[in-house]
Symmetry: C3
Subunit: 340 residues, 3 copies
Amino acid sequence: MLYHIFLFLVVLVLVERGSFAASPLEIVSVNEQLAHTEAVRNDETNQTLARTNFERLERLSNRSRYVARSCKEIRDRYNLREDGLYYLTTANGMVYQTFCDMTTAGGGWTLVASVHENSIYGRCTVGDRWSSQQGNNAALLDGDGNWSNRNTFGTAEGATSDDYKNPGYYDIAAEDMSVWHVPNNFPLEHWNLAAILRYHTDNRFLRLYGGNLFQLFKQYPVRYNVGSYNNRGPAFPIVYDHGDRESTRLLYGPNSRGEFQPGFITFRAINNERAAMAICSGVKPVSGWNTEHYCIGGGGYFHPDQCGDFPSFDWDRLGKGQGWSASKEMTEAAVLLFYR
Amino acid sequence: MLYHIFLFLVVLVLVERGSFAASPLEIVSVNEQLAHTEAVRNDETNQTLARTNFERLERLSNRSRYVARSCKEIRDRYNLREDGLYYLTTANGMVYQTFCDMTTAGGGWTLVASVHENSIYGRCTVGDRWSSQQGNNAALLDGDGNWSNRNTFGTAEGATSDDYKNPGYYDIAAEDMSVWHVPNNFPLEHWNLAAILRYHTDNRFLRLYGGNLFQLFKQYPVRYNVGSYNNRGPAFPIVYDHGDRESTRLLYGPNSRGEFQPGFITFRAINNERAAMAICSGVKPVSGWNTEHYCIGGGGYFHPDQCGDFPSFDWDRLGKGQGWSASKEMTEAAVLLFYR
Amino acid sequence: MLYHIFLFLVVLVLVERGSFAASPLEIVSVNEQLAHTEAVRNDETNQTLARTNFERLERLSNRSRYVARSCKEIRDRYNLREDGLYYLTTANGMVYQTFCDMTTAGGGWTLVASVHENSIYGRCTVGDRWSSQQGNNAALLDGDGNWSNRNTFGTAEGATSDDYKNPGYYDIAAEDMSVWHVPNNFPLEHWNLAAILRYHTDNRFLRLYGGNLFQLFKQYPVRYNVGSYNNRGPAFPIVYDHGDRESTRLLYGPNSRGEFQPGFITFRAINNERAAMAICSGVKPVSGWNTEHYCIGGGGYFHPDQCGDFPSFDWDRLGKGQGWSASKEMTEAAVLLFYR
């Protein structure tokens, strides 16, 4: 019990002091982050043995009576404000469950997808659903094509253990996006606290691009050789809910930091080799186009050693955060995408 | 607005005049088809932004109260006649949602599967669930075996974006089949209009083969080296709901047209190299056995360059419709299978 | 009708005489087993054509009103005792359907997973979700990692046709395990009768290991090179519900029989080459460590010819049950895992 109180305090302290504020000592920042993550991780170990709370279970189960297409509609129609799983219905009547963030900046955020790197060594192999599972193949311009089709996979509870895409990705008409970077395998009830970065847009940019990523990527196909690095899609400023520009910067490799500007979300980046990536989450490339080291998802063809959902986050040495390589924290965190 | 009315008229005209009637000018027919498809495609671009119609959403959601094993039972027990998603229940009580065609020839058709070619360049690679995802392997006689097991995958809304198989495939006791060839990535609400071919049987042949494909393929295994081309399974005449024999013929390669007779659906075809295919949809091989160019699905082994869900539809040149190669329309259309 | 009565009697006789009792004549035992399996198999062929029993269907459908996290809670809260599919809810409110065994040793057993070998020739290829789908790769220590993450796949009805893992695997707080070895592709309603082995623990060992396999394998990671064969996890005695120690012994290869002791379930075995396996189901390695021939699941790296969900069950010759090779019965049976 004392141990749990201690853990709780550790987490509290880390959160309170804004653990990712700019620091001249990068190594300290990374260690803090690890402590933060480990504290939350240990906290969840014994919970499974908790006795079933049937009242709570029935309350959650009764959420199937609410009918809405998005978490925003759940919030607005039923005035519900609790984070967690809700039932949503597509325009055609397909029902699915997903996670609603009902607290960030007014709440109403629907989890529609997660990009999870199952094997940083895999080069467009099984599990690389957001680029290609067919190997690095210049003939497969769009790779698996999941950024712009109605295929779905995974579950909300498994969103940090594998890729996830639900019907909301193409069905919801939204205005803004929110992104959480959550360490792999964390359980849903701790995502908010465990995330190494959380941020959202507030300029309603999706209104101009069809209301969701499915429509946006019709306009900006995530496709090999669709153009040069000059042809990247739009970038929008973000508001931080956890972390800041400096902590974002430090999560990528030292060399990458010279190329991008943190504090943005960028769509359909193109690198020097004309490979397309879907999202540069947290950053905007401004003075260099080695985007394979800090942008995720993609078409079906990259430089031979770069194909994958996190294309070349491990270029110099896995998880060492040196050269072009992203930090271990970033490489081993799933990217959760929300709409509102 | 005027633009939409124009598109609607284009589609209407195309549909009214039976756009696939026999034509001496094949190139015109193909162009018409493209126009048809493009018109529908453009029509759907902006719909996602439409405001949620909650009354409709609740009505769709309330369909979960109907209990039935097939769309035919939904029609007969509840007298429902609207196309769309319904809830079905297997004999064991497993619940799933799928699309019901409630209008064609009296309605009551259950979508149970779709065969979608995710990569015509893949040779029995990831996504080739209806043949083999294990590579071309003579030791894997049945490939992934999905024609004759209870594995399921995909969703109804994603049926033109990836492979789909629901429990109805093995659970429903049916009499007839219907097939829709729908361009990849089309949304459910436009399938009927966008389909390049639609047809059904009306001789109740499934009664003789166990009531569904799962049982039929127990009798006629989709297995490499199970016999010679003489050992193909049964073929049955079809009634066209969109398109006709001549448009069917033109959708396959010029060389293939000399081998088959359009106006049929054929099961478990076997080619010259003793590879088995599951369905020749729309045609019956009669004077040649290069069935890999116009039949779909299969066991785990083909001629090295032919393994896949659409085994060798691109033999001469992808989408050029020359030599043995099927047209681009056919190669890029998912094959939707219905029972009644 | 007479035919069905005959089949029923055959099955009855086989079951009554305890067909797997120790026998000096192994070949007889194997034949009996085949007869047993074939009898059940034939019995199911024509059932699909049976008319829908709507009363039963509605009764099954109404099970969605019961709210519980496990089959044990279904039994205890609602006093239900019928085997079959029920709805369960995770602590976070995620709803899923799975099979409950409500009869064995008091009932209340939840099916949480199945390990199915889709291709004994595949060496950590597509479908090897319980080891690795990324090839045999020493860099991927944990392989796909599904023994210790929240990823889920498959369905209860498909649990003998492909791998299955539902949220209960990580969500349920259990005490004991039950295991059924069911011939591939058998339908749910015949699993109990068709199983070649059924057994369970009764010492509540899971209480000491976090309440489920997800937690147990956090303590004993299924990871290449995590230790030597001396570092295997715990083994617990089993109580047989069908079969016995001798029939268990005979289902594995003659050479393997010299290494293990039947009548146990063992977790996280490690072989001579430091490859980790998840479960030795039915046996405990005691005097040799070629566990790849009789233990299932694993990390991402094995001896080159051994990687897979049933790593090296076919070492000498597939299904011949000679040398180190397991019997055809064992190699072609899915391993169903239950919690209570």
